[in-house]
Point group: C2
């Protein structure tokens, strides 16, 4: 047996595929039509909020958020360094100073106390990343942020369906983004994303920002064709619109998979808990054991491996890879260590937990299409590896 890291989130059923076929064969228009509206409506119903907009990626959603915020040069955006780079790039593009917050060592997500310490008069926004599908309970900073006029952006790229006290993630902040990329819990044929904007007036600006500034003329037209089919405009001077539209067939895939999201997530949760439980005797391997009123959707299955003097995480990855053909990886290199951020002046941080977790974490393959047999093989291989390493510690 062999378990590779995969670039495929799930399989589509025959019924899903037939639904997509109809769109491929018949949809007119093939982009920005019926299925876009329906996907947005369904998604809105799912999270229980209006003002949701399907876009080409979660990164695209963040670009639009950055434009809506009119981030100015040297205004500060605070975000955890332990995340994927796309959380940071759109704000840096607009000239923001990126300020790295540390993570809480247990939850592996932003340390809200460290965030507070790093707030200055220039702080415009904080990005709460619900990494790994772990819901960050940030309710106790909402008033703090309101007072200081700091906008809360929830990055739910990995956490669609996770909950905080019965609120879906992405619904308590000012803005949020979701991802339907190939590896996410559900995917719109490999690429896609969703944007939520709380403020009604800002939300009105999104369709134009998403599609090259297309909007209605502010005057009444005598002819449908004059002066043009529509206006091109932006209410935000200096912020130019984008081309972030999601095609009809991708929206169709979203419509289908959204119906299955809860059952897919339940299966993930059940499997993750089983694996964590079966490995609970190994005290050197620490999964995140969430408590409180939260639902975590286990986009990834990662753990901290406590090193001894002789044996560390790399030995575990190596053993799993060589002996059991199980391809584990490390996520995430602290962003300030990447050349992109170093070269652009964001190469320093005070994030000890981020460092410690990065140096000792392992992310196991954990794809929803894995069979029961493969899950069993994963558990037994990790167990065997840990036992082998225990003798060498």
């Amino acid at each position: 047996m062999k378990i590779n890291w995969s670039g495929r989130a799930h399989n589509y059923s025959s019924a899903d595929v037939n639904y997509l076929l109809k769109i491929i064969k018949k949809a007119d228009p093939m982009t920005q039509g019926y299925y876009l509206k329906k996907f947005q409506k369904d998604f809105s119903d799912y999270i229980g909020k209006k003002n949701v907009f399907a876009v080409s990626s979660a990164a695209a959603a963040l670009e639009i958020i950055s434009a809506l915020l009119k981030i100015k040069k040297n205004e500060e955006v605070i975000l955890p360094a332990h995340t994927y780079c796309a959380s940071a790039i759109p704000f840096a593009r607009n000239g923001a100073k990126l300020v790295w917050a540390d993570i809480n060592f247990d939850s592996r997500t932003i340390d809200l106390e460290d965030f507070k310490k790093k707030v200055t008069k220039k702080t415009r926004a904080v990005i709460i990343v619900h990494l790994y599908g772990y819901a960050v309970d940030f309710r106790n900073i909402i008033n703090f942020c309101k007072k200081k006029k700091i906008k809360i952006i929830e990055d739910c790229a990995q956490a669609l369906g996770a909950e905080i006290n019965n609120n879906k993630v992405g619904t308590l902040g000012d803005f949020s983004c979701y991802s339907f990329h190939a590896q996410k819990n559900i995917t719109t044929l490999g690429e896609g994303g969703m944007l939520f904007v709380r403020d009604q007036n800002l939300a009105k600006k999104v369709p134009g920002l998403r599609h090259n500034g297309h909007s209605n003329f502010k005057f009444k037209r005598k002819y449908y064709w004059k002066p043009a089919m529509g206006n091109v405009d932006s209410d935000i001077i200096g912020q130019w619109p984008f081309k972030f539209t999601l095609s009809e067939v991708q929206c169709g895939a979203g419509i289908r998979m959204l119906k299955k999201l809860d059952s897919l997530n339940n299966l993930r949760i059940q499997r993750a808990r089983k694996i964590i439980d079966k490995l609970s005797n190994f005290k050197e391997l620490k999964f995140f054991n969430p408590n409180g009123k939260r639902r975590h959707v286990y986009h990834l299955l990662s753990a901290y491996y406590k090193p001894s003097k002789k044996i560390n995480r790399d030995d575990l990855i190596n053993l799993l890879n060589k002996k059991y053909k199980i391809q584990s990886v490390i996520q995430y290199y602290p962003l300030y260590n990447y050349d992109l951020f170093k070269k652009n002046g964001f190469g320093t941080a005070n994030c000890p937990n981020t460092e410690k977790f990065y140096n000792n974490m392992i992310s196991f393959p954990f794809h929803i299409w894995m069979t029961v047999t493969e899950i069993k093989y994963l558990i037994s291989s990790i167990s065997k590896s840990l036992k082998i390493l225990q003798k060498k510690r």
Copy 2:
């Protein structure tokens, strides 16, 4: 009978659909895999140039070009005002001053003499837009631009397959973009684009710019997983990477449609010529009659309607719409008239031909899926309308 403006470029055959089905069901990864490579290879073979990159849209290709050029504030980019807004936005985003060139009244594309007049010491680039599928023969400005270090960007969004003296459009300039949007001659399921970069060193930077800066580490790694699966970098300080990836199934659609492109374009050309020929007795309606060694792919079927004192283009659109249920439109509102460009300081221009053509042009529905009967109906309805209007002129 009724002919609406459509948002669907063409129909997919059963064989095409089966090909796409296989990708939907089996592709792993679902983005950035085998089909991306194959699509790029096939496209490269088709235009006869290396360094082509599939992206999420033609606008995305232009964003990457703008980043590669490292356009600085107030550097000038010259482009025709008679084009779609996406030609301009990416350069404006980077701070370029947009300088509007007029069009040649007959060809409806950039007036190369007017371009030369508008060149200053600050001119960094010129955008040659092969609008309507008309190939612009710009060979006589290539040396001029080289001397003045002005980069030539070809916007081939509407012109894939058009030729200049047996060179495919997009292969004579420094950069070019192509579109596979829903309405284009071929579409990758509604959204998609392609980028060509002549310079080998600049081309190397594209995969990173396309995908959040992902690139290889410059040092040799001991472990595949450390420090991370890959580096995140950009060689261009201050230019941040994007998320402009095209999914595998979209690349698959591109692979299939590229095989049919020439036959689809030939059918378009044949039909356009027939319509133009059948309407040639109406001297008040002027289509573009290309001459010289060029192949035009008639993405659109537009004409200049010479107004009389009493009757103008709006009467023709109105009559076709009301009496014959044929939905014609106007393309394109001069970009400097849109609120987006006005508000950002690009609201003035000296482009008399652009004005005159805009005020008197009509674009007829001309979709490849139209039946022979519909084409006949289109011709006869235009004829009848022109005759009715002739009596009133």
